[in-house]
């Protein structure tokens, strides 16, 4: 069950994100008051991987960019869900070359001139599946300019390097609940524009992008899949990756 962050049709959160905690808790208890054997857990719908740091920035110096949420809100929701024996899942998107600076893991970080200990989603959610958005934005990965630790400006980041970063952070933070989301949609059949560069690519390009996740992230025991709203996309990819890589998509 998805816990909504936004109001319907209005780009505003359903409650003051600085931490009223009433609306979302009431919403949760409303759902939990209905007996359903199908309910396995909850999904936090705000996908921003920076949803805590911007809260800190706004509270500390009135400069945080929306959307954000008070980490205490997530902590309260998490406790309520776990008390019922249910799971709490988050699938943040983190199209970034600096995964370590996201709110997926806890970290010490300078905000508004001082160091703060910012909590991470991995502390509240049972499972976190990170969206690389490589499928939607391969041209961003190919053309992005960034500066490495030696101060050298580099162009391009591969999905493999991005997954290695994620694995390294999991190791250094001693985290075992952060995984990768496998992404694809109808463009595997029709082709379409890359979301970031808005350049059109044929369907073969998108099929290969989707199979890259199998190649780079096949080692993860838990996976989440994004496949548009069409289950056939995932069936198609299963056959395609099996044929080209010798390994199924699912």
């Amino acid at each position: 069950m998805v816990i909504p962050y936004w109001k319907s049709y209005i780009p505003e959160p359903r409650e003051n994100p600085k931490g009223g905690n009433k609306y979302w808790l009431d919403w949760l208890n409303g759902v939990l008051s209905v007996n359903s054997s199908n309910l396995q857990g909850f999904y936090w719908s705000l996908e921003s991987a920076w949803m805590f740091v911007n809260y800190y920035k706004d509270v500390l110096c009135n400069q945080g960019q929306m959307p954000y949420v008070n980490p205490q809100t997530i902590d309260i929701l998490s406790e309520e869900i776990h008390n019922r024996g249910l799971e709490f899942i988050w699938i943040p998107h983190a199209k970034t070359y600096a995964l370590q600076n996201t709110d997926i893991w806890p970290r010490d970080y300078p905000v508004c001139g001082k160091d703060w200990s910012i909590p991470g989603g991995s502390e509240f959610f049972d499972l976190v599946f990170v969206q690389s958005n490589y499928y939607q934005c391969r041209d961003w990965y190919k053309n992005v300019q960034w500066t490495d630790e030696e101060g050298k400006v580099r162009t391009g980041l591969s999905l493999g390097e991005w997954v290695d970063m994620l694995t390294d952070i999991n190791r250094s933070k001693n985290t075992s609940n952060v995984f990768v989301e496998f992404e694809c949609d109808g463009r595997i059949l029709t082709g379409g524009d890359d979301n970031c560069s808005e350049i059109w690519h044929p369907s073969t390009e998108y099929k290969d992008r989707a199979c890259k996740y199998v190649e780079c992230s096949g080692q993860f025991i838990n996976r989440a899949y994004y496949f548009d709203t069409n289950l056939n996309n995932i069936n198609f990819m299963n056959g395609y990756c099996q044929e080209t890589l010798g390994e199924g998509y699912v």
Binding site: K57, C61, N62, Q65, H93, G113, D115, V153, C196, P202
Partner: protein, 333 residues
């Protein structure tokens, strides 16, 4: 020469000299800036303090992330009667290629220069802005300030604090520049193999004020590239007043161009798209060299250099056209 024209010149020269040897189709496309991309700059202070705090970043509204966190930078300044001191910057991501590489300890500098300050909103009274601190008050003529503001609407949102019988004040606003409408200009040059597609871009410039986590729009307008270049010539200023008015420039917004190469089906496309970034204009611990009297910056005119660049671009396009025609004639012979 602007980086855009450098890219155009290099790309076009490459095409001109390699064109007879190239068998695939090549397109150079100046790509528009969509409404989901641009830059934001917010001016304020650290809470209840004298430290000027400017927060900047590229807007990249992908899903529910409205800015690109990899590009977020916070800039800190200290102002006194002698001028502005740059105390350092904090990048959300040190790996951002535009993150300033400075040997400045931001935390130490903030401790050293930070003092308590009471912020007061300036109230327009007749032709002046009144900053009333109770025991003291300052009236600054609007005509002194206006030449340094991007828009006269900012006059309503000036905030200041008092230090050593002087007033420091600034526009406490967030400005955003995003792409708006764009159309392809009918000046493409094609001969079957090479095409240069030029674009006319509009930009949406919006000013906001922030209250709690919400923000309110002050003004929004769509302007063309010429008007934007004109606007970007004007830096962001912090003001000083003790009977004498001084404007200190702290930073400006610049434009740069990215190229994206895409190859598909025997054709190559070079996409050139603009992006914006904030650049600091104050030397670390610098002082009087950043001071400008109001007589200097009052009349901002479209610089001659940009006119030169326009004619240079026209000359390049003309050269390509001639080359294409010659090549076509040679093929037809």
């Amino acid at each position: 020469m602007s980086s855009f024209l450098k890219i155009m010149a290099v790309s076009l020269c490459f095409l001109i000299f390699t064109f007879p040897l190239v068998s695939s189709n090549v397109k150079i496309i100046t790509q528009g800036l969509p409404p989901t991309r641009g830059i934001h700059v917010s001016v304020g202070t650290l809470p209840n303090s004298n430290i000027i705090f400017i927060s900047t970043g590229e807007i990249d509204a992908y899903d529910d992330v409205w800015v690109n966190p990899d590009t977020e930078i916070d800039w800190y300044y200290y102002v006194d009667p002698s001028g502005v001191r740059f105390l350092g910057a904090e990048c959300y991501t040190r790996a951002y290629s535009m993150c300033p590489r400075l040997n400045l300890n931001v935390s130490e500098n903030l401790v050293r220069f930070r003092t308590k300050a009471k912020l007061v909103k300036g109230v327009p009274v007749n032709d002046s802005i009144l900053f009333n601190f109770g025991k003291s008050a300052y009236k600054v003529p609007v005509s002194e300030i206006l030449p340094y503001l991007w828009d006269k609407s900012w006059v309503e949102y000036l905030w200041g604090y008092e230090i050593n019988d002087s007033l420091i004040f600034f526009p406490r606003i967030t400005l955003e520049i995003r792409g708006a409408n764009f159309r392809y200009q009918n000046c493409s040059i094609e001969n079957g193999s090479v095409a240069v597609i030029h674009l006319i871009q509009g930009y949406n410039v919006t000013y906001y004020i922030k209250t709690s986590w919400k923000r309110s729009k002050i003004k929004s307008e769509v302007i063309d590239q010429y008007e934007l270049l004109h606007l970007l010539k004007k830096p962001i200023y912090i003001f000083f007043y003790n009977g004498t008015f001084k404007a200190f420039k702290v930073g400006g917004i610049n434009c740069r161009y990215f190229t994206v190469l895409a190859t598909a089906n025997n054709s190559t496309s070079v996409f050139i798209s603009p992006s914006f970034y904030y650049s600091n204009m104050v030397s670390p611990f610098g002082s009087a060299n950043a001071t400008y009297s109001h007589s200097k910056g009052a009349n901002v005119t479209f610089p001659r250099q940009d006119k030169h660049e326009f004619w240079l671009l026209a000359a390049i396009l003309f050269t390509v056209a001639i080359t294409c025609l010659l090549c076509r004639n040679r093929k037809n012979m």
